[in-house]
Amino acid sequence: MSLLECQGVRKSFGGVRALSDVMMSIEEGEIVGLVGPNGSGKSTLINVLSGFFPADSGRVDFVGVDLLGQEAHEIAAHGIARTFQIPRPFATMTARENVAVSYMFGREKHSLAQARVAADEWLDFTGLASIAESNVDQLNLQQLKFLELARALATEPQLILLDEVLAGLNPAEIEGSVEMIRKIHDRGITIVIVEHVMRVVMSLSHRIVVLDQGRVIADGQPDTVMNDEAVISAYLGGKRI
């Protein structure tokens, strides 16, 4: 059975249909690239899967549990973590405290003392060790994005949903980060990655799902999907990969 299975997930905001009938499944151990034009519903889907928005209808099964209608914190306890496209750190805490809180509440509950140790590990992993003591208002966008990542990892998820964590890196830096994501994957974590930088998506994904106007328009091997006419006209434009 798949790790995660979406069926007919719908979500509208007033007149805007952000998701209409999304069907998608994620297998354990996969890295799935989720791409699509701006406003196609990727972040909305992540919000629905992580319990931030209630879906209007549909079904989301995660290891056999129906997630719809569950609170975000319950979903986190099941083992789904996510990052925010626009970073949202805890503003009065240091980087370390940000990660520590997340470790305390993640899939398993930990004490404050344990959390401090674990936080340092994850900061190290994401290359933020040097700014562990910094208040978050001293960090730049990139550091904030990696902090998002560290925080999500600290919940010890089974499935992690990454919303544009690598946007804003230059090509050389991307190499290093791709390595890091692979390392996350090596720890047995299933990954859904949303990214507009095609070299990232192509080099990481085992499978790519393309959303357009809230619908899945393609799903398959990276090469196949990227040469799909619909995908090219909706998303890639003249620039084929």
């Binding site: 791409v35 701006n38 406003g39 090509p171 998303y235």
Partner: protein, 234 residues
């Protein structure tokens, strides 16, 4: 048109930029390269009035902007697409665009300009009254670009405009920039997609740890072995 002389600035007591000297000529597109945390955003913000310079000079058409009160900078012709968009989340799309036209020069033409922005970004015109904060990341980026164009700048500062945009939109935006440039707009572009940026620009600077460490035509920079390794991932 833009002359930066020995500019230093930073946050609180932490200095980020050290004696930066650079220029953008009339009608030119100049790109600014540099690793993460080098100070590119800091420079852009110091030029646009978001951040105050500590010392040094910024001259726009020989007018000293460091002596100008920050809110008058946009009047003198600079507009910015800031890093992280910094749209006004509680305001509608239209109102965000109108703020772009706040300065006295652009205000009289705001009606026509709004229509033009809507043509460039049809998605924005579908969502005129949506609160900007609820737009998708990419939509917000379009809005930030639209807002800057509303100001009718003579010099446009773009801090990673392609961030979070679908390839098809990026292509579109680069098209638009090229066209505006041909109409006389000068551009200072910070962009991670360096190859793309250098192709568009005529010239570039390399900023590292707050200092300008290199400068040259696009061709020269693209050919530089060290740069290719460090920034272009080639």
């Amino acid at each position: 048109m833009l002359e930066i002389r020995d500019l230093t600035t930073g946050y609180g007591r932490a200095q980020v930029l050290w004696d930066v000297t650079a220029s953008v000529a009339d009608g030119e597109i100049v790109t600014l390269l540099g690793p993460n945390g080098a100070g590119k955003t800091t420079l852009v913000n110091a030029l646009s009035g978001i951040l105050r310079p500590w010392s040094g000079q910024v001259l726009l058409n020989d007018i000293d902007l460091t002596a100008t009160r920050p809110h008058l900078i946009s009047q003198s012709g600079i507009a910015v697409v800031p890093e992280g968009r910094r749209i006004f989340p509680d305001m509608t799309v239209t109102d965000n665009l109108l703020i772009g036209a706040y300065n006295k020069r652009a205000r009289p033409h705001h009606e026509g300009n709004v229509e033009r922005i809507y043509e460039i970004f049809p998605r924005l015109s579908e969502r005129k009254r949506q609160l900007a904060g609820s737009m998708s990341g990419g939509e917000q980026q379009m809005l930030a670009i639209g807002r800057a164009l509303m100001a009718e700048p003579s010099l446009l500062l773009l801090d990673e405009p392609s961030l979070g945009l679908a390839p098809i939109i990026v292509e579109n935006i680069f098209e638009v920039l090229k066209q505006l440039n041909q109409e006389g707009l000068s551009i200072l572009l910070v962009e991670q997609n360096a190859v793309e940026a250098l192709n568009l620009a005529g010239r570039g600077y390399v900023l590292e740890e707050g200092r300008i460490v290199g400068e040259g035509s696009s061709g020269e920079l693209l050919a530089d072995e060290r740069l290719r390794k460090a920034y272009l991932g080639l």
